[in-house]
């Protein structure tokens, strides 16, 4: 189904140790541009397509959450994304200087019973945290020194 990554030996792909750090302006357009660039870089590393799909979706949801909530009402702001590939996983760490998560915790996923809904009641939002929880491993949030830190990993083989 997904293309096999080019591997050296049994477990470690040649991208072992690859890492990237980027500062991204807190606008949806900048997020879009950053994700397009990251996807290009990771495709060239030969990572499995399904892992890249999961990564891009999770990053889009978390980063746009930062734009829309952490920096809501702010004139400007930015976030830092550190991504690295090792141990058959993509490890990510996002930090921003915006407002803390409500209650100092990650929001709970919202689940909808679509079968019971009329068309006019279908949700037009609120999917983000469900997707983030479903597609990541080791998801964590900490508020340290006026900064939000979200960490997670995407396993290449899950």
């Amino acid at each position: 189904m997904t293309p096999e990554p080019v591997t050296q030996g049994d477990l470690s792909p040649p991208i072992l140790g690859w890492s990237q750090s980027a500062i991204i302006g807190a606008t949806s357009a900048e997020v879009s541009r950053a994700l397009t660039g990251l996807r290009g870089n990771l495709i060239r590393l030969g990572l499995p397509e399904d892992a890249l799909i999961r990564l891009e979706l999770v990053l889009a949801e978390i980063m746009n959450n930062i734009v829309e909530h952490a920096y809501a009402g702010a004139d400007s702001g930015d976030m830092t994304l550190e991504a690295s590939v090792h141990g058959r996983a993509i490890w990510c760490h996002l930090r921003d200087k915006g407002r803390a998560m409500p209650g100092g915790k990650l929001p709970c996923p919202r689940r909808y019973d679509l079968d019971a809904m009329r068309m006019d009641d279908l949700p037009e939002g609120g999917f983000g945290w469900g997707l983030i929880h479903d597609l990541t491993q080791g998801l964590s949030y900490r508020r340290v020194a006026e900064e939000n830190h979200v960490r997670f990993r995407i396993d290449l083989d899950s």
Binding site: V31, S32, N64, D115, D120, G125, G126, L131
Partner: protein, 116 residues
Amino acid sequence: MEMSLQPQGAVSVLRVGNDRIDAAIAIQFKDRFRDITADVAGPVVLDLGRVTFLDSSGLGAVVAARKLLGPDRALELAALSPAVEKVMQLTRMNTVFPIHDTVADALTAHGVAPAA
């Protein structure tokens, strides 16, 4: 937002020309969809063949588009890329929208012979 409408018999095929429907473009998608379908009477098939990325904001815009058409006009999706299909499955929106592998399949389902 690049979107073009092509009538095929009773069906209108709406082709999205952008490769992403995400938070940066969701509002434009909704506005353009509203304008372009204003005078459409029958079912609309949204051709997503060019779209390689859809996030929850983009999905919200597609749901909003569905509501704009109202109960008398169908909105069906065609030619989903793996990333778009994944979002539809995870959110279970694939149970809300009829989904076709190709635009030709969508037309056939409506009894319209696809143009050669």
